[in-house]
Symmetry: C2
Subunit: 376 residues, 2 copies
């Protein structure tokens, strides 16, 4: 993997760059649609590629490990071939789902034991076997196994957890280095900064992570319920420590405004279920603000879903029709809204990149951050 920093904004810390992977290039800043179990819900791979113009998608190790399982994925020749997605893929480490989807779980030095939310069977994730699983899935970028601390989190727990994450990282790196990709192409390991909302811990963690010399670095444990100001403060602090010449990935973020503000702080990569999950509930993000398409006010509004939108659905369907699809619980409702939202998120980061390159990012960002939070 190779990261080229192409432009740095003079009025903010925003950057434009390019990541080269075995499955093609990614222009940053970038948003990665979430394809939990090998599918971005309601969207064909051809639509992701040709309409949404996704450059990289995210898969969840926890879900893929449970279903279809690594045996099937390995027989298929990896996730790319299994789902027929030829562009880059990033997988998380599974830790976040172990903590968020499981009431019954136990974390100790060895790893995290959990009960499958599907069939109740018990499983153990360790730094080593999570590296092995991600080798079997075959993503271009794989994530270290960490503990994502909840919010709020007391200083003692946050400190101990951060150190556990650091020890686990050393085990991940060791396993990663003593193994190789199963399908003939390179994989890349990103470590994750933790430390909750404590600046001293975040500083310590970012320095520890930076010292590993990884090809890219991630910021975890944010967007878990803390105030946005804390999220931005931690992101700013961590970005000031992580190396300039490596991509920075802010995990699980966020709203369009969150993404714009975090780009301004120096983040290059994002993922979030928000555009897809909220779409399925009828919430549309647009450059003019947020639409709850289920509202009665759209009942006889036959204007295009989003005249500024980039997806084919934006001009093909009208608001009243999309509202009807939601009210009638038609599958097409979720499909249309998901394509719209993903198209918007990908437009947002692409436009941010253009503005960075043109030297107009901050001005543009300050206007758009307000607009995208309007309720239409």
């Amino acid at each position: 993997m190779f990261f080229t920093l192409q432009h740095s904004d003079s009025s903010s810390k925003a950057r434009a760059g390019k990541i080269a992977t075995a499955h093609g290039e990614i222009e940053t800043p970038i948003f990665m649609p979430v394809g939990t179990a090998g599918s971005v819900k309601g969207v064909h791979q051809s639509e992701l590629r040709d309409d949404v113009k996704a450059q990289i998608i995210l898969g969840n190790t926890y879900h893929l490990y449970l279903r279809p399982g690594t045996n099937i994925l390995q027989k298929a020749g990896g996730l790319h071939k299994f789902m027929n997605w030829e562009a880059p893929i990033l997988t998380d480490s599974g830790g976040f789902q172990v903590y968020s989807l499981n009431d019954i779980r136990k974390i100790n030095e060895e790893g995290a034991k959990f009960k499958s939310h599907i069939d109740g069977s018990f499983h153990l994730f360790t730094p080593e076997n999570v590296m092995d699983t991600q080798r079997q899935i075959g993503a271009d970028i794989i994530m270290a196994f960490d503990e994502c601390t909840p919010y709020p989190c007391d200083l003692k727990y946050a400190t101990e957890s951060m150190h556990l994450t650091h020890r686990w990282l050393k085990r991940c790196i060791a396993r990663f280095e003593e193994t190789e990709g199963l399908y003939g192409y390179e994989q890349n390991l990103f470590p994750i900064v933790q430390g909750s909302t404590y600046p001293e811990l975040r500083k310590q963690s970012a320095e520890f992570i930076a010292a590993q010399g990884a090809v890219g670095n991630a910021i975890g444990g944010l967007s878990v319920g803390e105030p946005h100001e804390d999220m931005y403060a931690m992101t700013d602090l961590v970005c000031s420590i992580l190396p300039q010449d490596r991509p920075r990935y802010l995990m699980g973020v966020g709203t369009p405004a969150n993404i714009l503000e975090s780009i301004a702080l120096g983040v290059d990569m994002f993922d979030c279920v928000m555009p897809t999950r909220n779409a399925r509930n009828g919430m549309l993000f647009t450059s003019e603000g947020i639409i709850n398409i289920k509202n009665k006010k759209w009942e006889d509004d036959f204007s295009a879903i989003d005249p500024n939108g980039t997806s084919f659905v934006d001009s093909m369907y009208n608001k009243a029709y999309l509202r009807h699809l939601f009210v009638a619980k038609e599958y097409l409702a979720k499909q249309v809204a998901t394509l719209h939202n993903l198209g918007f998120y990908l437009w947002l980061v692409k436009e941010a990149r253009t503005q960075i390159v043109n030297g107009t990012f901050s001005e543009w960002k300050n206007v758009l951050v307000k607009k995208v939070q309007n309720r239409l």
Copy 2:
């Protein structure tokens, strides 16, 4: 509307023709995907047009009347504009859903009173108001309001019901003739032959219907549980009476084998929920037979869904992946299976047409009828 009979098969009663409507031409024999409430479930209109190659779709008056309602449809300028479907549409009369979706309903000379399955409100469908509703929806082909008799049905009920359907037809025609389309293009009314599985009634009804001189005619009350032999016998009898120079529509039929056998009897138009509904349960129809994609046997079969398939999904996704999508209850599962099945049904009628034109229909049909019933 204008029907051109282009070829008649010498070894069967199969025909190839062309129907010209205000929204374009339809080559027959044709299958009409069912778009109940203004959406073929799980499929974009652009996919219906460009991938499935649907030439006409069906809407359900009962569903559209209840939701979004004729007020919205009229404001939109009709269903074509509401859903952005520029090719022909056929709407049923709503009768079938009144009888099949409602425990509480009352049929008398005036019409059929029923309780909405959505909100429990009471409504009355009459031959007159069903014509008005179909004027508001704006389909190119609209259906007379009839009573679809259940199976089995005693002779007395079947006889009385047939006469009621005939009296209702006269009222439909009167209302249809004293009104006109609301959106500046021509609509066409098809009457419906009833008579259950009684040859004498079917003959009587077909003669009555034929005498109305409608631009096209339909056969109703079949595929409601009777043996296939009875369905074919009634279809054969009715087709021998209905005019040669008008299209014949066999309502609600059926399996691929049913469609092939009925084409051989002289039917030109079909609709059925089977390809779409069964797709959502994982049943795929192919030219080699039927696949239940949920079966464990497909778990590690990475071959294309259907190497002979015409939809983009057939070569884009593999069987193991589609099975995984079903097991994981991913939305994409239903989308892929629906596109596959509709693509197959449209291929089936198109290929039937080619074989009719080439004079090879019966031979081809006899081989294919057996193959499509295989369980793979």
